[in-house]
């Protein structure tokens, strides 16, 4: 058998039982590689359950900087007998299967083309610890120690991390280091270390940070000046508000009075949550809510009101697999259409598509400026993959000169200078009208906000011409919006080509990697990452320039493609779909495969292993 050989390019997957404390040990492993200067991307694959079901943690290690899912597993560390049959099947030929051999492996599972490494984790723990909880927790730390030996990791980095992690709880430092050493020693004494796959200190991380998208969003809301957060708990969005609260407690307490410069209300449901955001924004405070698919469905009526009455509203949708409750702890990009056209009647909503934690922070803060500038809901579409996993990201930055853009708001002096205020009067010709905040002026500027039709002066009317004129103005505003939302990012392959890919959000890393594979296959294609809806003119021009555009997305129904077809009146033959909707993030191999399959004259050649390893940098 030929064993896989690779330095700093591999995929390792941990198979655990949830609720057993494996998350922090696995995290320790990934962070150690990050601190060794090697790009890393860990992904949690967890059940909708608190204790007892299988959970996985997949870590992509890539000195070349590929941070998406590649597909396939080179090393499987399996401590969950329940998922073992499936786990061992997933290992690449020549890969490594590491398991707890306190109980012998079922002979029927044994594969001859995989290296099998047994660590008696349960036995070591039973010998070492009396307390059952300790036995369980340290088992995880012990396998991290063993991996350090097997993969030739820098042990000092691990001990340094443990010390950082337990700062303030110093009693825990030594026992954890001891557990690491137990594993390390066992592996050293019983195996030829290192194995074929190794980690070597590098300098490919720079000043990057390891951060999940939801924390970045919470911080974006802090920096963007949000003072009111209203929400109803739902995975995978809960940690957005958790992060906002954590940082608000630290950074938003008035030093003089000790009182809070923010208010968080846990609402009775998502309808109420968005209603609170609408109320606060109407009153001139910056407010947001965070939710996922089921909550978005409930919020539809209010989103229509905010669209029609033109109330700034910020909503973060951390998407998960639908429909209905779907797979609540798995990722998808499947709320695109529901969000873009949220609510009955002719509505169109502004969407932002971040693809990194840095963009979550930037777009999160930007949402508040855009909502007030454009006086409409801004729905930031992230997903579970970006939101709940640590992602390697550019560091966060804030320009201290930056002022919040409060948009077109009239104060008392403005009103004094005016003949008559018209809330829905398009004075500037850009479709965006002036608004007033309640309580501004004793005599002027008050109006009735409503979801019913009204004239330019906010007086109720059922006259068809007035209604139609207002709807037309909203379309004119839609054109203006195209100038304000983040522009797409194009990547030119440097050659003449009639083929392109277009993607958004978390498909970016895998798409980039797939394009490199395809280049090796001899296929050069241009790429565009869209970052907002409405699409601006660059997107239209890009589509026009190419014969064939593959739209990569993580849902069944090709929702972004539908949106492109609807907005640009394109025929279906130009736009091809590359889809993934099994609840896992789309992988580079999957993208390559689907593109090749649809290329005229190209026969699909499954990637051969040797080629993959070379693609992986060895």
């Amino acid at each position: 058998m030929q064993s896989l050989q690779s330095v700093n390019e591999f995929v390792i997957k941990f198979a655990n039982v949830n609720g057993t404390g494996s998350a922090s040990a696995n995290n320790l492993f990934a962070k150690a590689i990050f601190r060794m200067g090697v790009p890393v991307c860990p992904k949690n694959i967890f059940p909708s359950n608190i204790q007892g079901l299988p959970t996985w943690y997949e870590v992509r290690v890539s000195e070349r900087g590929y941070l998406g899912r590649r597909g396939g597993v080179d090393i499987m560390l399996s401590v969950n007998p329940q998922s073992m049959p499936q786990d061992i099947r997933e290992v690449e030929p020549g890969g490594y299967f590491i398991y707890d051999n306190t109980k012998p492996l079922d002979l029927r599972l044994v594969r001859n083309d995989v290296n099998i490494i047994g660590l008696p984790l349960t036995r070591i723990c039973n010998d070492e610890y009396k307390d059952p909880r300790q036995r369980q927790l340290f088992k995880n730390v012990i396998y991290v120690g063993a991996l350090a030996a097997l993969l030739d990791m820098d042990f000092a980095v691990l001990t340094g991390l443990v010390s950082d992690q337990f700062k303030g709880k110093d009693k825990l430092i030594l026992p954890n280091i001891h557990a690491l050493e137990l594993g390390y020693q066992y592996a050293k004494e019983n195996f030829a270390c290192p194995i074929g796959v190794r980690v070597r200190t590098a300098d490919k991380v720079g000043d990057k940070v390891l951060l999940d998208g939801n924390t970045a969003l919470g911080l974006g809301a802090i920096y963007g000046g949000a003072t009111v957060a209203a929400w109803y708990p739902i995975t995978p969005s809960t940690s957005v508000v958790d992060a906002y609260e954590k940082y608000a407690k630290r950074l938003r307490i008035d030093p003089g009075t000790g009182r809070k410069n923010y208010a968080i209300v846990q609402a009775e449901d998502e309808l109420a949550a968005i209603g609170m955001v609408v109320g606060a924004s109407w009153n001139g405070a910056r407010a947001f809510t965070a939710t996922s698919g089921p909550g978005l469905s409930l919020m539809a009526e209010f989103l229509g009101l905010a669209y029609f009455a033109e109330i700034p509203t910020v909503l973060f949708d951390v998407q998960r697999a639908g429909p209905s409750t779907g797979m609540p702890t798995r990722t998808q990009q499947s709320d695109i259409l529901a969000a873009a056209y949220a609510s009955h009647g002719d509505t169109k909503q502004v969407l932002l598509f971040p693809s990194t934690p840095k963009e979550c922070f930037d777009f999160g803060a930007l949402s508040f400026d855009l909502a007030e500038r454009l006086q409409t809901p801004i729905i930031l579409m992230t997903d579970l993959d970006l939101g709940m996993n640590d992602n390697m990201s550019e560091p966060l930055e804030w320009d201290d000169e930056r002022r919040y853009d409060r948009g077109k708001v009239l104060n008392a002096e403005d009103l004094d200078r005016m003949e008559r205020f018209g809330r829905y009067l398009d004075v500037d010709g850009d479709g965006i009208c002036y608004r007033t905040i309640p309580g501004t002026h004793p005599e002027k500027g008050a109006f009735f906000t409503r979801g019913t039709s009204r004239d330019e002066y906010a007086v109720y009317t059922e006259r068809g011409e007035e209604y139609a004129k207002n709807m037309q103005r909203l379309l004119a505003k839609w054109e203006t919006i195209k100038e304000w939302v983040p522009k797409p990012i194009e990547q030119d392959c440097g050659q003449d080509t009639d083929t392109a890919v277009l993607y958004f959000g978390t498909s970016e890393e895998s798409a980039r990697e797939a394009l490199d594979y395809l280049a090796e296959d001899g296929l050069r294609i241009n790429a565009m990452r869209v970052r907002a809806f409405p699409f601006n003119r660059d997107v239209e021009a890009f589509l026009e320039r190419h014969e064939r555009v593959f739209v990569i997305e993580q849902n069944r129904d090709a929702q972004l493609r539908t949106l492109l077809m609807a907005e640009f009146e394109l025929g279906p033959d130009k736009l091809k779909s590359v889809l993934c909707y099994d609840g896992t993030p789309i992988s580079a191999r999957n993208i390559r495969q689907q593109i090749l399959q649809q290329m005229p004259g190209h026969n699909v050649t499954p990637l051969r292993r040797d080629r993959l390893v070379s693609a992986a940098g060895e």
Partner: protein, 350 residues
């Protein structure tokens, strides 16, 4: 269509301390049916605000959907208003109140808007003791959708359509007490003498103040056999007592015989004088208030007046410990921690 009320004013209309006439608190001409109870309630709101010397622009009036929820168009024309979506006014007020604690929030709703589609939001606004006045214009039916029974229609009561309602009624004051409301009153649109001081007291209360106002729908539910008709209510209303409201700065004129009533000093310093008629009700005791409601209900009577008040109530801002400065007045200086802090956060993520 709404019509603006003609601007011509009689020169000697009485003005309040702010120099405003009562007309300055009015709104557009009502388009509700002539005789609709809701219009009388609007009139009481106008009177209460005028007499309380409130600055109209410091009041925000919010509602859901229904004939009742249209009513805010017909009073307080100088105030910002928000006609939101059906049953969801409480959440909009919650957000608005979080954003600016310094305005007076007046919520107007119907019995359909509150007791059916909006029941959840109503209940949770009470639990949070949101600082607002919540007026239910209660006609026992859905006026705007042409008279279907609502959840506050009494069992056996028949609307114009004729069939007696087979379901038990939700009693909003009783429910509010159970949910922890800190100010609970009931009144009748036709009894301004009672309603106006109750509105004033509710506006001076810190916390959630519910006034359930029976407000007959002349078009669909004012017939014989309805328990929400003018006639039935006039005959069956039992007042807890008389209520007189004395604003903060006014002296209490000593026209009450000593020992005949109770004086309550409200949060803003105004005084409520309660002249009790109901011997058993103690309006400072929640249990007593709940018992009184049920007893009168069992007797086929409608208990009106101030039913319960907790004058030391803590509102949502007190509980959350939010800044005393309205959150909507805070600027970058107060809100944005700046790049240096962010650099430290970055370091903690490496």
């Amino acid at each position: 269509m709404s019509y603006q009320i003609p601007k011509f004013r009689h020169p000697d209309l009485p003005v309040n301390e702010l120099g405003y006439t009562r007309a300055d608190y009015e709104g557009a001409i009502s388009t509700l049916c002539a005789g609709c109870g809701h219009d009388s309630i609007s009139g009481s709101i106008v009177r209460a605000c005028h007499e309380l010397n409130l600055e109209p622009h410091r009041i925000a009036k919010l509602s859901g959907i229904g004939c009742s929820s249209k009513a805010p168009t017909y009073f307080l024309g100088k105030s910002h208003g928000f006609n939101s979506v059906h049953g969801r006014m409480p959440s909009v007020v919650t957000g608005a109140a979080m954003g600016n604690r310094d305005l007076l929030y007046l919520g107007v709703s119907g019995d359909g808007d509150t007791a059916s589609i909006g029941m959840g939001q109503f209940a949770h606004a009470i639990r949070r003791n949101l600082n607002m006045v919540y007026i239910v214009m209660n006609n026992g039916c859905y006026g705007l959708t042409k008279g279907q029974d609502s959840a506050t229609a009494d069992e056996g009561s028949a609307s114009k359509k004729g069939d007696p309602n087979p379901f038990s009624a939700i009693d909003l004051p009783g429910l509010a007490l159970q949910l922890g409301a800190t100010f609970v009153a009931r009144s009748f649109s036709g009894d301004k003498g009672q309603l106006v001081p109750l509105i004033k007291a509710a506006m001076s209360h810190r916390g959630f103040a519910l006034i359930d106002v029976v407000s007959p729908c002349v078009t669909f539910n004012n017939n014989a056999g309805s328990t929400k008709s003018y006639e039935f209510v006039r005959e069956h209303a039992e007042a807890t007592g008389t209520v007189d409201f004395v604003p903060m700065r006014e002296e209490i004129t000593a026209h009450y015989a000593p020992g005949t009533g109770t004086e309550v000093t409200l949060h803003d310093g105004s005084v409520l004088h309660l002249e009790k008629l109901d011997e058993e009700l103690d309006p400072f005791d929640r249990l007593s208030a709940m018992v009184a409601i049920e007893k009168h209900r069992a007797a086929g009577e409608i208990l009106t007046g101030l039913i319960y008040i907790d004058k030391d109530s803590r509102d949502l801002h007190d509980v959350l410990e939010t800044s005393r400065r309205p959150l909507n007045t805070l600027t970058e200086e107060d809100l944005c921690p700046g790049n240096k802090v962010l650099a430290n956060i970055n370091s903690s993520l490496r």
